[in-house]
Amino acid sequence: TVTVMAAAGSCSWFPPLALGVSLLKCLFINAYHSTDFEVHRNWLAITHSLPVSRWYHENSSVWTLDYPPLFAWFQWSLSHVAQHFDSNMLRVENLDYVSPGAVLFQRLSVVFTDGVFIYGATECCRCVQEPKEQRDVLSRPSFVLAVLLLWNFGLLVVDHLHFQYNGFLFGFLLLSLAKHLQHRHLQGALLFSILLNLKHIYLYMAPAYGVYLLRSYCFTQDHRDGSVRWSSFSPLRLLALGAIVTSVCALSFGPFVAMPALLSLWGGPRGPRAFLRVLLICSLGSFLFGWHVHEKAVLLAILPLSILAVQNREDAGTFLVLTTTGHYSLFPLLFTPAEFPIKVLLMLMFTIYSFTALRKLHSGPGRLLRPLEYAYLLGLNAVAITCEVALPLSPWQQTLPFLPLLVTSVYCSVGVCHSFLRLYVSLLRPEEKPKQL
């Protein structure tokens, strides 16, 4: 498939979108932050104050360093800036240390490292096929994708309220995907291996990467014997990657569930878009069946799906179901009353935008979603009112305090499973040409 780059000079709308969301993030500096704040502060202290040999042994805090080494080096480099804000936060014994300087530094570091995410989003927008006729900006797929990525509700709420560095990490993922979409597989593989060494949750995606790269990159032609590969330089690195992939395959059920999808990827060279689909199935499958999964992991599926959603009608429908349910499932993460308006308003904003923009983008006969799916999503409103307002104010709050969480999880699981099945069906169906918009 030939990817058409967006016309140069038409991207004057991108900087305001990026800058606007960055400024909005700054407004949340004093909002509620979770224990993840202390986690990262502790890692800043560990990497700054202790020698490298002690980093993974230090356990005076309960939040020990449990990300791969590259992330530890990332924290180490951040700590050099941190000492100018408040050097007390870099002392390992200062457990649960909070000061205005510490909060300001940590929040701003997330905002600044989101620059990687912005760069990744830029690259992905460039890979989106533009329609032939000149449309106004708001209706272009690249514009819609930029908004869906940069203003993603889940990332905003998890990174800038709850506190994490997902934007930074997803930036690497988006860059890697963009490189693969542009057929620059070496760069894509390098970026993915960097990402793996930053956070090992991305191992969920490793099967898709492994199979795709083995089949479409190592075998330069079909029906060729595998021995031809050994002469070139990159397959050695890819083989090492494949070795890691197979060794952790036994860990969770996710890759087993994704097996038919992986086989289909092996069945014939089907290009980067099929790879993206399988990647999504791996991520979502691991989310559904994996060990000790956190709700934030749903973002691993939502963000790459945005790229497919602006190009394909069927994927847009899946995106709307997955995103709305996945984002709503993040609500229990922000349980403080002060942040309640923020999560509701941001969720409404993103949902209204994604529905209207994708509907306009894929205007045509029929609707994007089936009536039952619409009814399910509308039912989310009732769930929200029940779990956020009615139940906490009712007498059951004392006797059944976990009921809201139960209702939220069970209701959202239906939507997520449904999206998983929709993705699988769309993959195993014979590949149709990407619809020309």
């Binding site: 400024l23 979770s34 939040w63 349980f335 002060a338 308006p341």
Partner: protein, 492 residues
């Protein structure tokens, strides 16, 4: 994209930005004994709830006027009373007489911020939406970008949601008045404006244009026929509204006079604090405050204000069109701001509202003024010159000029996104709001915002368990292994 979805996204973003600002510190946080405007509003709820109406504006043993005595007209008092009823039902400690002085807590802050948001949602925001959709011309894209800029004006957001005030109510009511006049509903417009006047006496800055416009319109319709009828209707609406608002205070003339004395404190002097108006700036070179007596100061400021306001009002009387009305609003409020007596720096908001109405017609001038009006230090010098230039620019502009400008600019940018109207100014608004919110806290509390740090909500028993659960769930780093039990990746 459909207009309604763009409008709802604009409104939602405006609400998010407002609430984001309100997470920060408020005026006088943690600063006994006087605290700040936040405590003043809370105190008024206490006074209006616990004391009978006759004592609200008087210095009694129960009501110490030196500690944030009521100095706004009755409608503010009624609003405080309504809020007090809600406060009492949530937590009576918030409005307990005497004992609740200086009361501060995260829940109370949430409640107070919520009252500002609710008031905005009911009054200010719908007025802005209706104005931008029905009283501005251009494509729907242009209207939405005007709405975007109007709703994100930093000055109002920072003062209402940062410092803490209820300017959105009075400005919202005034805007409803402008809206009604624009749609030709004169009696309703005067009703809305009278309500605004009875909420904050500073709305007098806008009173002359309203008066001249309605008078001019009546004259145009003919004083012997429909004009007289209109005049009588408006006069009776105004008198009726005032009577209704002041009814409880009219039984005793002394009482009414005391209220007037509270809301117009003439004894305070020509200016207080550093304000970007003429007298403050002039005082740097010529010590006006010491050269002239207090009475002469009043007469001087009155004369200068009237002189500045006269041209636009006379013009409005002779040619009562909506465009002239908007210009006169801007001109009059600016003249009052520059030359009036005892001007407070927050009065710049009264100028900002008419300027926002002109966003669609004079975008460059309007945006520049709105920026200058937001920055505290900058307004001291640049604001004055900017304001004079703006006033001159207003007087030169005529309807025909405006139409010509609009058609030229439309032709140039046909089909493209109006980034010049929406993109850059909105970004600058957002930048101002976010840095303003941060540094306002610094200016209020003397250090980076401390009072705003809320520890995770904890409580005894089950709450504690929930807290621990959320703490455990908060850290999702160990997706592939249970870090507490120490099991490694390879053991399944």
């Amino acid at each position: 994209m459909q207009t309604w979805s763009l409008v709802s996204i604009c409104v939602l973003l405006a609400l998010v930005v407002r609430w984001g600002v309100s997470l920060n510190s408020y005026s006088g946080a943690g600063k006994p004994p006087m605290f700040g405007d936040y405590e003043a509003q809370r105190h008024w709820q206490e006074v209006t709830y616990n004391l009978p109406l006759q004592e609200w504006y008087f210095n009694t043993t129960e009501n110490d006027l030196m500690y944030w005595g009521l100095d706004y007209p009755p409608l503010t008092a009624y609003h405080s009373l309504i809020c007090a009823y809600v406060a009492k039902s949530i937590n009576p400690e918030w409005v307990e007489l005497h004992k609740s002085r200086g009361y501060e807590s995260p829940k109370h802050k949430l409640f107070m911020r919520a009252t500002v948001l609710v008031a905005d949602l009911i009054l200010f925001i719908p007025a802005v939406v209706l104005y931008c959709l029905y009283l501005t011309d251009g494509s729907s894209r242009k209207k939405v970008s005007t709405l975007f800029c109007f709703l994100l004006y930093p000055g109002l957001i920072l003062i209402d949601y940062g410092h803490f005030q209820y300017n959105g109510v009075s400005l919202g009511l005034a805007l409803w008045g402008v809206l009604a006049l624009g749609l030709g509903w004169d009696a309703l417009g005067s009703l809305a404006f009278c309500l605004a006047l009875n909420y904050k006496q500073m709305e007098l800055y806008h009173a002359l244009p309203f008066f001249c416009y309605l008078l001019g319109k009546s004259v145009q319709l003919g004083l012997m026929g429909r004009g007289l009828f209109l005049l009588v209707r408006i006069a009776s609406t105004v008198l009726g509204t005032f009577a209704l608002c002041w009814l409880p205070f009219l039984s005793d003339p002394d009482h009414a006079m005391q209220v007037v004395r509270r809301i117009f404190p003439v004894a305070r002097g020509l200016f207080e604090d550093k304000v970007a108006n003429t007298w403050c700036s002039l005082n740097v070179l010529v010590k006006v405050r010491y050269i002239l007596s207090s009475d002469s100061q009043i007469y001087l400021s009155l004369a200068c204000t009237l002189l500045a306001v006269l041209p636009s009002c006379v013009r409005l009387l002779t040619k009562p069109t909506f465009w002239q009305f908007k210009l006169a609003l801007a001109n009059s409020s600016l003249a009052f701001f520059l030359f009036s007596y005892q001007v407070h720096e927050k009065s710049i908001l009264l100028v900002a509202l008419p300027v926002c109405l002109l966003l669609n017609d004079l975008p460059l001038v309007a945006i520049w003024f709105l920026h200058a009006s937001t920055f505290r230090g900058l307004t001291a010098c640049a604001g004055w010159f900017e304001a004079m230039w703006f006033t001159v620019a207003l007087s030169k502009h005529d309807t025909e000029d405006m139409k010509h400008d609009a058609s030229v600019s439309e032709g140039r940018s046909a089909g493209a996104l109006r980034c010049d109207l929406a993109g850059l100014p909105v970004l600058q608004h957002l930048f101002t709001v976010s840095t303003g919110a941060l540094f306002r806290g610094y200016l209020e509390t003397g250090s980076l915002p401390q009072a705003a740090f809320l520890p995770p909500q904890t409580g005894p028993g089950l709450d504690r368990e929930m807290e621990v659960l959320h703490q455990r769930r908060g850290h999702g780093g160990s997706e592939l292994c249970d870090c507490r039990s120490g099991s490694s990746i390879t053991s399944a």
